[in-house]
């Protein structure tokens, strides 16, 4: 039996199919990342799995039960910060422990244990208003890892966190994985999705690809990724770069341009020369192996951040 089984799921808002025939299976203990831009339907999917919303058609099962009948297994961490800033971390967790049916010394004991697991023991009695963004998100994950919870749903948990806080956050998530808890991570950040054992890419309500991060890169983005930053962005720069990109595709981003090349090492020097000859000053250029964001671009011809923005 799968921890999560979803079959032909459809959700319609205002005559628009936000989820359009989604299929998904997550075995027990798997860390599954669902990646897609804003408006792709990933948060709607998470909220249906979490029993917050209901589908128009299709099957959603948590350990064989409908989500509304499996709430005791579900640990949902919505995107917004839901912990109370006026209460301390400990008071917040005691509140959730009480809601889950634990009381008195049992609740206090559990809360102490959970605080230790998420690394917040020393900050437990401070008001949440004084927590950093990373600490607050850890606290909110702590509300979803009480005993009995088998499916943890994290909706965009690292939005707004700095790199150090993100590393620390995923260190905690890896500890949780050791307990056979299935984790669904909703994200639009490729580097976050890289940490999952399996990744599903979703766009316009449809699953467009699924596999391990390495499988997805092998299947959909074999090229090297060259990022070029020029002094100015003009059509002329674009035209030079298109000549070096596979299929003439160039992605624009805030940092500059991204092109995809089957032979980055050889192309790099020629490209700099061509830009120089065309009178364009190259401020920065770098080559990297493809990421999951590049996979998304290859599949949709849209850059994930642009689609998100």
């Amino acid at each position: 039996m799968f921890a999560i089984h979803i079959e032909n799921l459809v959700k319609i808002y205002d005559n628009r199919r936000v989820l359009d025939g989604v299929n998904l299976d997550v075995p027990e203990g798997e860390f599954y990342a669902l990646m897609g831009p804003n408006g792709s339907g990933k948060t709607t999917l998470a909220s249906i799995i979490a029993a917050v919303k209901t589908q128009d058609s299709g099957i959603v099962e948590i350990y064989g039960k409908k989500p509304a009948q499996a709430k005791e297994f579900i640990g949902y961490v919505p995107q917004e910060n839901f912990s109370s800033p006026k209460l301390s971390g400990r008071e917040n967790l005691v509140y959730f422990a009480n809601l889950l049916g634990y009381s008195g010394s049992k609740a206090n004991q559990l809360v102490t244990e959970v605080l230790k697991n998420v690394g917040l023991s020393e900050e437990a009695d401070k008001r949440v208003a004084k927590y950093s963004g990373g600490m607050r998100k850890k606290l909110e994950v702590a509300t979803a890892i009480f005993p009995g919870i088998k499916v943890l749903i994290l909706d965009e948990p690292t939005t707004g966190l700095d790199p150090a806080a993100r590393r620390s956050f995923f260190g905690m998530v890896q500890d949780i994985m050791g307990r056979k808890t299935s984790i669904i991570l909703i994200t639009h950040i490729g580097s976050d999705a890289e940490l999952a054992s399996k990744v599903g890419l979703i766009d316009s309500g449809k699953m467009i690809a699924e596999g391990t991060p390495d499988e997805l890169k092998r299947q959909h983005a074999v090229e090297d990724v060259i990022t070029v930053e020029t002094a100015v962005k003009t059509d002329s720069v674009l035209s030079v770069l298109k000549g070096y990109s596979i299929n003439g595709k160039v992605a624009e981003s805030e940092a500059g341009y991204k092109i995809y090349s089957g032979n980055g090492d050889r192309v790099l020097a020629d490209m700099v020369r061509s830009l120089d000859q065309a009178g364009h000053k190259v401020m920065r250029i770098e080559m990297a192996r493809p990421t999951l964001e590049d996979v998304f671009f290859r599949l949709t011809e849209r850059h994930l951040q642009e689609a998100t923005g």
Binding site: V52, K71, E72, N98, S103, T143
Partner: protein
Amino acid sequence: MRQISAAYAKAVKELLREKAALFWTIAWPIIWILIGSFSFTGSAPQQVVPYIKGSIAISMMVFALMIAGMSNLPASIAGDRANGLLSKLISMPIKPYKDFLGRISAVITLSLLAAALVIVIGIIVGARFTGAGVEIPQAIGFVFLVICASAGVGLITGTLIKNLQGAIMTGVGIAVITSAISGLFFPYEGLPGPLQTFARVYPISSAQASIVHLLAGPDMVAYNPLTFGQMTLTIVLSFALLLIGTVLYSRLGWKLE
């Protein structure tokens, strides 16, 4: 019971730690007792002044109860919806009515605390009351009607207005405007005819007039709010507001679609 007490404990702590809530619910009515007691009693005969102060203290106590129900309660509901707590609660194995009972109990606690403080300050600045026997439990009954009606309006506002600032401002707005036009801030006899009718129909001002009648004496009220018909109207409308609020909250308050 555990879930109700969890929701209650959280809501009470939040209310007592929210400076704006404490200001509007407790400090603001007390400021008006002080202003009213020293500014609006100058031309009155000396022997009546303590009872005018008693009447002002009762009006401000009722205003404190209105703010607790009409502003603090919807702020708590709208805030929890806006910050994602509602999504979190819906995903958990708890029943909406338990959360509702916890919140309402917290508002009642804050209301009673505010009412007690306002009355104590009133007594300190010279307010006196005539009622001492059976009038006190009767007045407490009307205090509960004010709490019911205010909480009903608060539940309606908190359910229908989705954002926190909107819910707070609407609640304060309803409390201030209805107080002004129903004789809570100004003498009933100075209101134009249609507003006098409103003051009798609006269960909060009618309950306030009943409390003043019971505790500060019939001379302090321009009409008799303790007739059978008037009391029935006050009781029925207070519970009707609470019932409408409860139904709306339980049907729509816990839905995010």
